[in-house]
């Protein structure tokens, strides 16, 4: 079972073999959760949203087209997060801007988290998202480009620039 790629499994799921979704859940739910947690800073919310991502995977399984599975998966996760914050910040934020809550506003609470976590929070949400997707799940630039709607080349440059910024923040706090 391990040998099968995500894409092959997902195609079988789309053909009606629902049990295989468990394999995909096992492989990816922690990464989806971690992504949502790093972006929202809210464990409960992240769990609910992760749940919702996999519900949508069940519901929309037949709409899966032959593309990279992680791109599809994280596109759903990303939209979930976006919808959530658009709904909750309707009256405060411009709707078209991705505006994520910064994790833990007061400095005292920040001590509970790791230094890396704090350094990540000093990046803009857009930058943080790219880093989280690229570093934790090791999503390649081609797939990252599909998720955020850009080109691999542009992303490669962008990610290395953000990493430089993050490196400075991280080492200063050390």
């Amino acid at each position: 079972m391990k040998a099968l790629s995500d894409e092959i499994i997902m195609r079988k799921v789309a053909d009606g073999n629902l049990d295989l979704l468990k394999v995909l859940f096992d492989r990816h739910h922690k990464h989806v959760y971690n992504y949502l947690y790093k972006m929202s800073g809210d464990a409960m919310l992240s769990e609910d949203l992760t749940q919702d991502v996999f519900y949508k995977l069940i519901k929309y399984r037949s709409s899966y087209k032959d593309g990279a599975f992680v791109s599809w998966l994280f596109s759903i996760a990303r939209n979930n997060l976006k919808t959530h914050f658009t709904r909750n910040h309707k009256y405060h934020e411009p709707v078209d801007v991705l505006e994520y809550k910064t994790v833990a506003n007061d400095a005292e609470r920040q001590e509970d988290y790791g230094q890396l976590h704090n350094a990540l929070n000093q990046l803009s949400p857009q930058d943080r998202e790219l880093i989280v997707l690229n570093r934790y799940k090791e999503i390649r630039y081609e797939e990252l480009a599909e998720i955020v709607g850009s080109t691999p080349g542009a992303l490669k440059t962008k990610v290395s620039r953000i990493l430089k910024k993050l490196r400075v923040i991280y080492l200063e706090s050390n």
């Binding site: 739910h29 769990e47 990493l163 490196r167 991280y170």
Partner: protein, 264 residues
Amino acid sequence: MKSEKDNFISSQLPAYLDGQLSPKEKQQVEDHLAISESCRKELEELRTLFTAFKEEQVQVPSDKLRNQFNQVLEQEKLSQSKVVLLENNKRSWASNLLKIAASVALLIAAFQTGRILEMEKSNQDVAAILEESLQIKQTAMLSLMENQSASKRIQGVSYIEEFPNPDEAIVEALAKRLLHDDNDIVRLNAFEALSGFASSEMVKSIFIETLEKEKNPSIQIGIIQTLVKNQEKKAVAPMQRLLEQEDTQPFVKNEIKLALPKII
């Protein structure tokens, strides 16, 4: 000041650490690292950062997540199979009836096969258990018969009731009791146990051997009666010897006199 080359190499460093560069690009980066102090420093700092990513404790979602996911998946599977069923119904009732009949037949056949197999298996199991318990009893019997206490030896001898077909080891152990035990009652018990199998040649020869040396009159009489009942001709000689011996009890002699004519 940083050169343009520095900036370019610096942008390649993440991919270099991830091992994603082509051999040519890799060589290019390494050549530059050899001459640029600032890029070496940058690489080290980046490495520290990457290590931090690797070592960070990642938050793990609770089990609730998996449980709920499995629940929803089961529900979806149920509704999926319902849909399939409705479509079939529309297509043809007759073929469905046939399918149902076939599946019922299959179910019954499978059930019967399972039952027969199960029965065979349990019979084998019971036989194995019986065999095992007999062996345990035999071991207990043999070891009890070697016990120092006479009552334990009697207990061991009386275990013979558990063996409808005792094997040689048991018969030999009983014979040993009958021939060599110091205690009269143990010998008497051993005799009674063996008399149940007096038709066997082995038991008969044991009895004859006993008759030659046994002094206890009740055992003597018992053996004489058993041997006469089995028409054992070889018993005649030891019986006559008993008649001639002076220390033989008179009523034993009497018994022998009555018994001898019966053996033809």
